[in-house]
Structure formats: structure tokens, C-alpha cells
């Protein structure tokens, strides 16, 4: 009896191990299937990364007829999860913070171009903005640069190390070019969430905040005597990007009005007659060892989805600009972009 039990156990274990080994080798050799987890670099389900990822992942899951789920785990957890899974059951979607974090030396960020494979780019959020209180003495960004040039201290609430800081760095760089030696008059006040930045403005603790069209548009429509009232002074997106936004813009602010806050109406010089712009782009990141067949499969599926055209409408309805680029193109584009911004960050060090 004992022997037969042992034999049974042995045979059972061998069968199980063989099945598992076959299963894993099949999983490596095949394309995306089963359950796929898409981790994102943000913990918020109310912010643009989750929103944008949900739209793209829903379409992709339907197109490939597989289960896909977006998990808002945050940057560090997302990178670590991606590190562990070369099978293709974990993918990541994030935006420019993925490489800006490394350029700014944020703990936990490494060079994504070395450590991961860059997947396709899917869209742009054109809403990255800078705002002042409605009763601020600074009418526009030119006033702010001039005031800093004349020795006034300008406090700007940002979230350090990412998309929020790159506009601040560019502004500081512009002050250094236009008013050499005065750039330290622009002071960063490090904050976390958008509510913290807003609160700093309500308390008169800062003169300018980083925000977004989506999060702050309603505040710009409040009457001037309201403590919460703000107005835009700068959108970092390029004119070309904003021109692709729906004509009605967002809320009660039309595209025409938004164009007043982008270059060439607002000029943040980078020297050599070049003006700074920044489009916040969303893209996929993969484990470096993931099967190239999966990379190709996602590229192809997304190309077909964007060709059908429905996703463009969904994205535009939520104030995203569709911007599909297959993996190779996205990698080259993002590398070039990262190099450009690295030089700005280097200049103001």
C-alpha cells in the first residue's frame, strides 16, 4: 500500500511538472493569451494615466479577445512587477515621467531605454498647465519671467521629479537665458497631489501652480472674488497638439481660448530662437526579455484599432489627443525627446 502511494505520488508529481513545463514553454513561445495585467505608474484611478490606459486596454482586450485589467499600482511597484514577468502577462503603461524620473535622479527610477523595451505610444494629454490666482499681479508668463528677472521671488508649486517639474525647469532655463544670474528667483515649492498645489494657491503660499486643464478648468470660471478662482498662464503642449483638440475644448473653455496659452503666444525660450513645448505622452513599457512576437502582436492590434477610428473619438471626448506610434518609432521618438530635456535639466544644474 505504501509503495503504491509513493508510486502514485511520483507519477502525479512528474505529470504535474511536465504539464507546468510544457505550459510555461508554450506561454513563452506564444502570443498574448489568457489574463493580462496592465500595471500603470500612478496609484490614482481618477487621473489621466488610468483613464487613458483604460480606454486603450479595453479596446485591445476586445480586439484580441483576451482578459486585460488595468491596475493602478504606482511607478515603483509597476516597475518591480514588470521586472519579474518576462512572459508577457504583465505590461505597463506610463508617460514621460518614466524617463524624466531618471533624469531628475528620483529614487527607484532607472534608465528605461536600457532596462525595458519601449512599446507603442498611444496618446497625448495636452492639459499640462500653469496657473495663477485670478487676482494675481502677473497677467501672463512674460510678466512672471520679467518679475523674476527684476529680482522678485516667484514661488511655484510643483510635484518634483516629473512632468510637473519639467515646465518649471524650462521656465528657470528661460530666465537664465533672458536674465542671466536671476534664475534662482524662481523657487520650486515641492508638493504632492493636485489638491495640495491648489491649497497652496488658496493660502497665498505660492504665486504659480502646476495643474491641468482637466483638473483646474472649473476653477478658472469662478468669480474673481472667490478665494479659489484661478486663471491659466501657460499650457506646455505644442500649438500643433492643441489644434487637434475638439473645437469645444473642455468645459466652457474652447480650443480657441486654450490656444492663447501656448506657443507662439507664450514663449519660453530654449535659446537659438527655439521655444520650449512639452507634450505628455502615454506609451507601453515591456520586460526586456518579453517575446518579440508579443511586441509585434500588440503593435499590429493597436494599428488596426486606430485604423478603425473609434478609439480616437473616445480619447478626444476625454480631452486626449490620439497619437499612435508603433514600438520602434515610439522608442526613437522618446529617446530623442529625453535627450532634448536632459540638456535643459543639465543647463539649470
Amino acid at each position: 500500500m505504501m509503495v503504491s502511494k509513493k508510486v502514485m505520488t511520483g507519477v502525479g508529481s512528474a505529470a504535474l511538472i511536465t504539464t507546468m513545463a510544457m505550459g510555461s514553454s508554450l506561454a513563452v513561445a506564444q502570443e498574448l493569451q489568457g489574463n493580462v495585467r496592465v500595471v500603470i505608474g500612478s496609484t490614482s484611478t481618477g487621473a489621466d494615466t488610468y483613464q487613458n490606459s483604460s480606454f486603450v486596454v479595453d479596446e485591445l482586450a476586445e480586439h484580441l479577445d483576451i482578459n486585460m485589467k488595468v491596475d493602478a499600482v504606482g511607478a515603483n511597484a509597476a516597475f518591480r512587477t514588470l521586472d519579474r514577468d518576462p512572459r508577457g502577462n504583465t505590461l505597463m503603461i506610463f508617460h514621460d515621467y518614466a524617463y524624466l524620473g531618471h533624469l531628475y535622479g528620483v529614487e527607484g527610477f532607472s534608465d528605461i531605454f536600457e532596462k525595458y523595451a519601449i512599446g507603442p505610444a498611444v496618446s497625448i494629454n495636452p492639459g499640462n498647465a500653469y496657473l495663477v490666482p485670478k487676482d494675481s499681479p502677473y497677467e501672463n508668463l512674460e510678466d512672471i519671467i520679467a518679475a523674476a528677472g527684476e529680482g522678485e521671488t516667484i514661488r511655484v508649486a510643483i510635484q518634483p521629479g516629473g512632468v510637473s517639474e519639467i515646465g518649471f525647469s524650462a521656465l528657470k532655463n528661460a530666465i537664465a537665458i533672458e536674465h542671466p544670474g536671476q534664475e534662482d528667483n524662481l523657487v520650486a515649492v515641492n508638493t504632492g497631489s493636485q489638491s495640495d498645489k491648489n491649497q497652496q494657491l488658496f493660502d497665498d503660499q505660492v504665486d504659480v501652480i502646476n495643474g491641468s486643464v482637466q483638473a483646474n478648468e472649473q476653477f478658472t470660471r469662478l468669480p474673481e472674488d472667490d478665494q479659489k478662482a484661478m486663471r491659466f498662464v501657460w499650457l506646455t503642449a505644442s500649438e500643433e497638439t492643441i489644434e487637434q483638440a475638439p473645437e469645444d475644448g473642455l468645459g466652457e473653455t474652447s480650443r480657441e481660448q486654450l490656444l492663447e496659452y501656448v506657443e507662439p503666444n507664450v514663449n519660453v525660450t530654449m535659446g537659438d530662437d527655439e521655444s520650449f513645448t512639452f507634450d505628455k505622452e502615454f506609451f507601453f513599457l515591456y520586460n526586456k526579455d518579453m517575446d518579440p512576437a508579443i511586441v509585434e502582436q500588440i503593435d499590429e492590434a493597436l494599428a488596426e484599432i486606430y485604423e478603425e477610428g473609434e478609439i480616437q473619438e473616445t480619447l478626444k471626448d476625454s480631452f486626449f489627443i490620439p497619437n499612435f506610434m508603433p514600438s520602434d518609432e515610439a522608442e526613437a521618438h522618446l529617446k530623442e525627446k529625453a535627450e532634448r530635456y536632459a540638456s535643459i535639466i543639465e543647463n539649470i544644474k
Partner: protein, 502 residues
């Protein structure tokens, strides 16, 4: 009539279904209302905004309420905000009054939920304007006020404060982020721990470990004999519940509900502070608080009415400023963004239909929660009759699953659960106090952030005293709380000495 056309049977069924699922999530240690809402968030895309909100608000109310069940019956706070429910709920269950305790919880919960819904409906924009008067300094002082509870919760004040300080120390482990005013480096750990502890210990595994696993270890230590007789925790045949228990408790219920609503409307202060504050205020202000912590209904009433009042409170900044008041509403905001709807200061005037839909769902969810729980309690309470050698392994398994799931599959959270289970067991053995330690852990990191940010903004210590009249009032409350704790401590010591002498 136009308004009525917004509602159909599906809407009400979704609220009821959401509430039921929420209660189950809340009742399983490690699963929270936030998790329930996050899991179901993608469904709202298919359901549409109004039906989606019906489901999510049901989950929210159910999830917050469900936390009372394990808190009372097995001493594990199902959600962080039900931590103070364990203080009196579990002792009552040990005395065979589990069903009675749960019935008190349900009534207090529905009271808190409905009061906060009424406040939300009537005063949302006004209160949102008030909430922005609370900047870093005021938020720090509110947390300090909640921390001052440590002194009055302890059996020995010195040991209690020491335990609280350990809790604060534990909360500071991890990355000191630049957004929190830090240097972006990890601290209070060795380098090899960095991959695991970069973001510090997760709250829920710590909480479940220190309360749940340690309780199980302590019970296991007693051996199987004591439980065979079923005497240690039991359900009495007549639950001993009548509404007369609430006689004279209207002040407690109302005060706690308003505290819950108020804390909810302050973004960043966190839900656990609500029940802790309500519990302390009852302890400080009631005529007789000598039984609190030993199984007093008034403690459960304070805790449960406050944590359910959070729901309406946390929706105030969400719907009037676009800022979520707690972690669950932070997920809830996704329902709006997925539908391309802005939430900000003009949300209510520009989306009146959605506003009424939300209010209806909130009130209906509270009513459904009441009926579901009040009449199911006699069955739920029988959980404690399950033999412990069967019950405990199931609880441990659920705790492990919950800990693993809380941050979407981080194995270290399971180790955290087990480590703190053993730590909880040991600290009780060496005579330290669990409740102050855990309150220090929950509130410590926020206290630091707001303290540093206050200094960063003002550049001087005097700002804590001179920032605003609100700050002065908060200082007076802190002072009163500390003085009361010292007096209580002296009184207790005198009583003990008297007992020894006699």
C-alpha cells in the same frame, strides 16, 4: 417628476447589490471598501454614469459598514476605520454579547451615514469653502489632537506613550519622498531591505497582523480545552438588545456623526482619524467613561457612527472641489473621469441630475445596509460558535489572501502580516499597549508630512500658534484632551492604590 424618470428598478437593484458585496468585502479582513470600488470601477464604463454610481456608492457604504463584523467578533478591524470598534466590540463578544454589539453597530452606522448624507445635501458647497481654511498647520493640529488620544487610551500613560512613539517610528520607515518634504532617500532600514520596504509597511497588513494574527496566537496559546466548552466567546440566546441602550446616547451619536463628517471633508487627514477622534471625545466628554475599552456600548456607538459618517463627509470635497476626501472617494473619482465628466467647484450646479442620483443612492444604500445587516446579524454572529480549530485557520487564510491582494499582489505584504502578528503577540507579552502603537502607526507619517510642510511654508515655529483662529481652537482642544488624560490617569492610579491597600 422629471427627477423620478432618472430612477428605475435596475438603479435600486444595483445599489442593493453593491451594498451587499461591499458588506462582504468589508467583513473579510484585508478587503476594504476602497478595494471593492477599485475592482468594480471598470464596470461603470459599461453601466453608464448613474447606474455605475449606484453600484459604487452601494459598495462604499457597504464596505465601510462591513468592517464592524470581524472587529466585534474576532478582534480584527475589517477596515482601518473600524479599529476603535474592536476596543469595546470584542470585549462585548467575549462576554457573549456579540449580537447585541453588532446591532448597536448597525444602528449607529445608519445614524452616522444618514446624518452625513443630510449634511452633504444641505451644506456641501459651504463646507467645501470651510475645508480650504484648513491648511498644513490646521491638519497637523487635527492629527495631533487624534494622537493625544494615546494618553487617554492607555492603561499606563507612560507605557502608552512609549508604545505610541514606537508606532510613529514604524510609520516613518521607507522612502522619505521629496513630495513629503523629504530628500527622496530611504530611511530607518538597512540597504538590503530597500526592495521590500521602499514604500514602508502597508497599513492593512500591519493592522490585521497586530490585531488579528496576534489574537489568534494568544488564543492558540490557551490551547484547545478552553474553546471546546465554547465559553470564551459565545452568542447568548437572548441577544439582550433593546433600543433602550441608546437612551441618553443621542449626544454621543450626533457628536460622533459630525466628527466623522468633518474629518471626512478634510482631504488627507484619513478615515481612521475620524473614529479615533470620536472615540476620544466620547471618552473625554461623557459622564461615565470608566467602562470604555472593556465592552461599553457607548464606545461602539462613537466609533461606528463616525466611520459611516465619513462617507458623506468625504464626498463633500470630491463634489465641491474635485478633491477626494478619503482613499475610497479617490477611486470613486475614476467613475467620473472614465465618463469624461469634470469634478470641480462647478460640478453640482452643472450636473444637478447626477447630484440627485448620488444623494438618492447614498441614502438608499444606508437603508439597505441597515436591513441587510440588522436581520442577518443573528446568523453572522454565530461565526464565533464555529470551533476555533476550524475558524482560526480559515481566518488566517483570509488574512493572507487579503494582505496579498491589498496592493495588487505584493508578497512582502503577507510577510508584513505574519511579522506583525508575532510582534503583536510579543508586545502584549512584554506589557506594551497595542492600541496606542497602532494609532501612532496610522497617524505618524501624516503628522510628519504636515509638520514639515507647515515649517517649509512659514519658515517659523510660531506659525503653529498664530496661523489662524482655527489653530488656536485646536490647541485648546489638544490641551483639554491632555489635561483630561492626566487627571484620568491620576484617578486610576489612586483607585489602584486604594484597591491594593484594601
Amino acid at each position: 417628476m422629471e427627477l423620478l424618470s432618472l430612477f428605475d428598478i435596475t438603479f435600486f437593484l444595483l445599489v442593493a447589490f453593491g451594498t451587499l458585496v461591499g458588506i462582504i468585502f468589508g467583513a473579510i479582513p484585508g478587503m476594504t471598501a476602497t478595494m471593492a470600488v477599485a475592482v468594480c470601477l471598470p464596470l461603470t464604463y459599461a453601466l453608464g454614469l448613474h447606474n455605475g454610481l449606484a453600484l459604487l456608492l452601494g459598495l462604499y457604504v457597504g464596505g465601510i459598514s462591513g468592517g464592524m463584523v470581524p472587529a466585534v467578533l474576532i478582534n480584527i478591524p475589517g477596515t482601518p476605520s473600524s479599529i476603535t470598534t474592536t476596543f469595546d466590540g470584542y470585549p462585548m463578544a467575549q462576554k457573549g454579547e456579540g449580537e447585541k454589539a453588532l446591532r448597536i453597530c448597525v444602528i449607529a452606522s445608519v445614524f452616522g451615514g444618514l446624518v452625513s448624507a443630510a449634511v452633504l445635501f444641505l451644506f456641501a458647497p459651504l463646507l467645501a469653502d470651510f475645508s480650504i481654511k484648513f491648511s498644513y498647520v490646521e491638519k497637523f493640529l487635527i492629527i495631533l489632537l487624534a494622537l493625544s488620544v494615546i494618553a487617554s487610551l492607555s492603561n499606563s500613560m507612560l507605557v502608552g506613550i512609549f508604545s505610541g512613539v514606537i508606532g510613529v517610528w514604524l510609520s516613518l520607515i521607507g522612502d522619505y519622498s521629496t513630495t513629503d518634504g523629504g530628500n527622496g532617500k530611504t530611511r530607518l532600514m538597512f540597504d538590503f531591505m530597500e526592495p521590500y520596504l521602499f514604500e514602508g509597511f502597508s497599513l492593512l497588513p500591519v493592522l490585521i497582523g497586530i490585531f488579528g494574527i496576534s489574537t489568534i496566537l494568544l488564543e492558540a496559546e490557551k490551547g484547545i480545552k478552553s474553546e471546546v466548552s465554547g465559553k470564551s466567546v459565545k452568542v447568548s440566546k437572548d441577544a439582550g438588545f433593546s433600543l433602550s441602550i441608546f437612551k441618553g446616547s443621542l449626544t454621543n451619536l450626533t457628536r460622533s456623526s459630525f466628527i466623522g463628517t468633518f474629518v471626512g471633508l478634510l482631504p488627507g487627514v484619513g478615515g481612521s482619524a475620524a473614529s479615533v477622534l470620536a472615540y476620544t471625545q466620547e471618552k473625554n466628554l461623557s459622564r461615565d467613561s470608566s467602562q470604555m475599552g472593556k465592552g461599553a456600548p457607548q464606545g461602539i456607538m462613537a466609533s461606528e457612527s463616525a466611520n459611516n459618517a465619513l462617507t458623506g463627509g468625504a464626498l463633500i470635497p470630491l463634489l465641491s472641489l474635485g478633491i477626494p476626501g478619503d482613499s475610497t472617494t479617490a477611486v470613486l473619482i475614476g467613475a467620473f473621469t472614465l465618463q469624461g465628466i469634470q469634478v470641480g467647484p462647478l460640478f453640482i450646479p452643472e450636473n444637478t441630475e447626477t447630484w440627485y442620483v448620488m444623494m438618492t443612492a447614498l441614502v438608499f444604500a444606508n437603508i439597505v445596509m441597515f436591513f441587510l445587516m440588522f436581520y442577518a446579524i443573528k446568523h453572522i454572529a454565530k461565526v464565533v460558535l464555529v470551533p476555533k480549530h476550524i475558524l482560526f485557520p480559515i481566518i488566517v487564510m483570509m488574512c493572507v489572501v487579503g494582505a496579498y491582494a491589498i496592493n495588487y499582489g505584493i508578497m512582502f505584504d503577507v510577510w508584513t502580516l505574519l511579522i506583525f502578528g508575532v510582534v503583536g503577540y510579543l508586545i502584549q507579552k512584554v506589557g506594551l499597549e497595542v492600541a496606542p502603537l497602532i494609532i501612532g502607526f496610522i497617524l505618524g507619517s501624516q503628522a510628519e508630512v504636515y509638520f514639515v510642510k507647515s515649517l517649509e511654508s512659514a519658515g517659523t515655529f510660531t506659525t503653529f500658534f498664530t496661523k489662524s483662529p482655527i489653530a488656536v481652537v485646536l490647541w485648546l482642544l489638544i490641551l483639554a484632551s491632555v489635561v483630561f488624560s492626566v487627571l484620568m490617569s491620576r484617578k486610576n492610579r489612586a483607585k489602584q492604590l486604594q484597591n491594593i491597600a484594601s
